[in-house]
């Protein structure tokens, strides 16, 4: 045991070490995040356009009022975004779970690693590249999808990305293609977290499949699955890179999600005051979602 002067020296030492270890990350954060975020907060109360060349003018809550009052404003974008998130996550989760169960117990499959790589490829692709090449696949004149549809029902070509009624779903389908494998991955992880002994016990007890799922698998796997759903919700709320090359938010506004609108207002119209206010609103939403994520994570830790 160290004597007490030694201990206090250690304490001072400890403080120095903590500071030294954290300093680089804190420096990065203050310069590239805290200061910009404060700037953003300030700007959200100002009228400021980069095009007019005028200095920012104090505006009170007018930017926020504009965002909510404008007829084509945030409600439409939020509605589309939540449809995109809700339907997308539902489809991806359902399909992902099905595929997860299908791939469960494929440990001795020949070429498993390669097969899984092919399956998981969509989620590590460059979204811009994915968007661009899906435009090629969806193309009405020489796209391969129209050729396939044409084989089955030769009623003429479908303009997947140009038709306002279809465009949203066509984009959503690509998102599902990209992210269903992620839910499969999470399902496999959830299934992997179920102790083998309990599964064997359930088999010996001749528990029916629905019971096995609800009593044994769900109990162990639920948190991983919920984390997966939440991560997917947050990520799909941010969708932008995929949409820019495919539709740029069109036709009309049918694929204009919140991130797309913010991108357009800030970096095409350079409406900085308005965009800052919009960003602040999105920041609040993402803080809420992050809190939920941490909440579930903590429950999982306690649950063990």
């Amino acid at each position: 045991m160290a004597s007490s002067p030694g201990q206090s020296a250690f304490k001072d030492n400890r403080r120095v070490i903590i500071f030294a270890l954290l300093a680089p990350v804190l420096a990065f954060f203050i310069v590239f995040n805290t200061i910009p975020t404060l700037w953003l907060l300030g700007l959200s109360f100002h009228k400021f356009s980069l095009l007019s060349g005028m200095p920012p003018e104090f505006f009170g809550f007018r930017n926020f009022q504009d965002i909510f009052r404008n007829r084509n404003g945030i409600w439409g974008d939020l509605g589309r975004t939540f449809t995109f998130v809700g339907v997308g996550v539902l489809v991806q989760t359902t399909l992902g779970i099905l595929l997860g169960f299908l791939f469960w117990g494929s440990k001795d499959m020949p070429g498993r690693r390669l097969a899984l790589t092919l399956l998981f490829t969509p989620m590590v692709l460059t979204p811009v590249a994915t968007g661009t090449f899906f435009r090629f696949i969806y193309d009405p004149t020489f796209g391969v999808l129209n050729a396939l549809v044409g084989w089955m029902s030769p009623t003429g070509t479908i303009d997947f990305l140009g038709n306002p009624q279809i465009a949203f779903w066509a984009v959503l389908a690509v998102d599902c293609w990209m992210w269903t494998p992620f839910m499969t991955l999470m399902t496999l992880a959830a299934l992997g977290s179920v102790p083998k002994a309990e599964l064997e016990a359930a088999e010996i007890d001749r528990l029916s499949w629905p019971k096995r799922v609800s009593l044994v698998i769900w109990h162990h796997g639920k948190f991983i699955l919920m984390l997966g759903i939440l991560l997917r919700t947050i990520d799909s709320f941010k969708t932008l890179d995929l949409i820019i090359p495919m539709t740029k938010g069109g036709p009309g506004q049918t694929t204009r999600l919140v991130a797309v609108e913010l991108n357009k207002q800030s970096f095409e119209s350079f409406n900085m005051g308005w965009s800052s206010a919009y960003s602040v609103l999105l920041l609040l939403i993402s803080i809420a979602m992050t809190s939920m994520f941490i909440f579930i994570l903590n429950r999982r830790r306690k649950g063990r």
Binding site: F28, P122, M186, A189, S286, T290
Partner: protein
């Protein structure tokens, strides 16, 4: 006999599912070996005489390509190396000393990664314009490093929590300095965490488009930038260019997930779920 047949059938089904998910990518790779008229043929051709012209074109005639590829590599590797290094120090601090506000800082770190891209980049853009940092490699690298830090800290803290403090104590008792303990005793034990943080941040920066487009410029442009901006030529989309460029560009991430498949799970979940699939 029928047992093995069933297993075979099962594996065939799994392979078919995997191939279905891969098929759009396969179609693009196939298209990159077609001539311009073969690509635009209706109905699309499955059988054609392959040509390497598109790749030759890309490497020989397209002057921007090598610059963009170089930028992609330099930006992602440098930014992620910096990020993983500083994150390791911070994660060690969070895991071992648990200073006040650890939970809050971890939360703050994560919340940036949860924010839509334009909202993150908007204030940074104004700052970069004001200071004249736009289109500067160092400024891009530092920003990408900042954006890779949250993920790295989360993932590394998870791994560091799993390393027993006994090792630190033994090191201290035997008179090792903190530097010795951090880099010689603990670091080797979290190698998998470092690899996972490295690989998945690299994939992210490699694929990143918006930030590069907004705060970068002509000299720092990467390949996604080129795809979004340079895809047009001769009045329409230049599909030969797109297919060849895409095929080359998606190769590294795909190889990464083949060779580092055991890190895929931890990499896709901020280090919150561990294990292999």
């Amino acid at each position: 006999m029928s047992e093995t047949l069933r297993a075979r059938l099962y594996h065939v089904v799994l392979w078919i599912v995997s191939l279905i998910f891969f098929s759009p990518v396969a179609w693009i790779i196939l298209s990159s070996f077609k001539t311009r008229s073969d690509i635009l043929a209706t109905p699309p051709k499955l059988i054609f005489t392959p040509t390497l012209d598109n790749y030759v074109d890309l490497f020989v005639n397209n002057r921007g390509f090598l610059l963009q590829l170089g930028n992609s590599i330099i930006l992602s590797v440098t930014a992620v190396v910096i990020a993983v290094f500083v994150s390791f120090l911070a994660a060690f601090c969070f895991s071992r000393f648990k200073p006040k506000g650890t939970d809050f800082l971890m939360f703050l770190l994560l919340s940036i990664r949860m924010l839509p891209g334009p909202a993150v980049i908007l204030p940074v853009y104004l700052m970069y314009v004001a200071f004249g940092w736009k289109d500067n490699h160092l400024a891009m690298i530092l920003f990408y490093a900042m954006f890779s830090i949250p993920f790295s800290v989360w993932i590394l803290k998870g791994f560091l929590d799993g390393v027993s403090t006994r090792f630190d104590e033994t090191g201290r008792v035997n008179g090792g300095s903190w530097l010795h303990i951090i880099f010689r005793v603990v670091l080797p034990q979290v190698k998998p965490g470092l690899i996972a943080a490295f690989i998945f941040n690299i994939i992210f920066v490699w694929n990143e488009f918006l930030f590069n487009f907004i705060i970068g410029g002509v000299s720092t442009q990467n390949i996604p930038y080129a795809l979004a901006v340079g895809a047009y030529s001769d009045g329409g989309l230049n599909w030969t260019f797109i297919s060849a460029l895409t095929s080359i560009y998606i190769l590294p991430p795909v190889l990464f997930i083949y060779f580092f498949q055991k890190y895929l799970l931890v990499g896709m979940t901020f280090g919150t779920v561990r294990g292999e699939v």
